[in-house]
Symmetry: C3
Subunit: 161 residues, 3 copies
């Protein structure tokens, strides 16, 4: 299906999904994070090296909404990690579709982290590769891969990107 | 009022305001900066910690266009500070409205600073929380809060973000 | 010509060009990079200082598609440089036109570089100043200037921004 299946309205709706997703994480509204995904879904944070040579090992890997919810429960009640704030910057979404129902979106992201010392550092940069579908009329991630370049991760990566 | 009050045209107009605002500062066209605000307005640069617990202290606080203009006059003729260039990157605007007249916009920003040594560093990251209204037909900031994460500010914060 | 010559469709098409350009470089699809330009074109990476005082010296300067293609050939087969990944973040495109045929676009960019040590650093920040025209029905860069603030360039700047 040619790209002109991507109407301005659809493009805007997809951008709203990408924007609200990032705001949800940065505002620490993490209990709401699983709602951006379909029930059967895949979310992973994977190094670019593994992704490019087809190795599956990921830093974070959840293949259902249940696992996403568990991730947040663990983060709130079990994981021990440094107090930190994320600040995402996202850009250049490129949207394509083959069937007008599954939308493939690639966009770049940079996450800045600020800890107690008050300094903001470049924590993780990479790209999102997404499969987005309509679920009961609402656009959601069926698959979201955060493929990162920054393969030296300075502190425990607990909060999703 | 549901979000579908935010038409594509309005969304584009709001994005143009956010984009032009940033270009104005980065191009050092600071005399034009107050024109982005209504006469009665509030502009503040405030640490996230204060904002979250309701403390008012801000690094920069102007509650009228006159004060904005004074800020630029001081910056041009009184303040002593390091030669520096700002480069803003902004992303993920999320737009809502209750009455179709005041538009609430939250977006993320990262400001890179380059000084005489030629190195660009992450200077200030945070989010803008805006109230935007139409003023004689033109969209302007009635309120703009730059709520920053980077609570260690490396040099005198003179130039607005 | 007033800015309302910039329809939503045209704005979206220009944004798609800017987004795909960045994705092409970051995905290392560099053989495709010259296709974003008209045959007679100008691409340059120039320090802000030179640009502002009208000095012509640029770090990269190509005034035809042929030279762009040579640049990629050199990069693949001749230049010796550190293995590195770029990650672009672009933002706030401001679009104007005088005649409805040549579109002047200014936008900000930040390029993060990740080398073997796995750390992502702020490599180059600046602004793009573009002249975009329709070439056989497709929008292309007639002129793209990457005017950078970061005048201390840490490693050989081989890959275009």
């Amino acid at each position: 299906m040619p790209n002109n299946a991507i109407t301005l309205e659809l493009k805007s709706e997809i951008e709203d999904l990408l924007n609200s997703y990032v705001q949800c994480i940065d505002d620490d509204d993490l209990e709401n994070w699983p709602n951006f995904f379909t029930d059967q879904c895949l979310y992973q944070i994977i190094p670019r090296e593994n992704h490019e040579i087809g190795l599956p090992t990921a830093v974070m890997w959840c293949d259902s909404r249940g696992m996403l919810e568990d991730r947040i429960t663990a983060l709130r009640h079990a994981n021990v990690y440094q107090v930190q704030w994320y600040r995402h910057i996202i850009s250049n979404p490129v949207i394509t579709t083959d069937d007008g129902e599954t939308f493939h979106v690639q966009s770049n992201y940079a996450v800045f982290k600020t800890c107690n010392d008050g300094e903001s550092t470049v924590y993780n940069v990479g790209r999102y590769v997404d499969e987005i579908v309509r679920d009961k009329g609402v656009l959601k991630f069926k698959k979201r891969s955060a493929i990162y370049d920054t393969h030296r991760i300075t502190t425990l990566l607990v909060i999703p990107v």
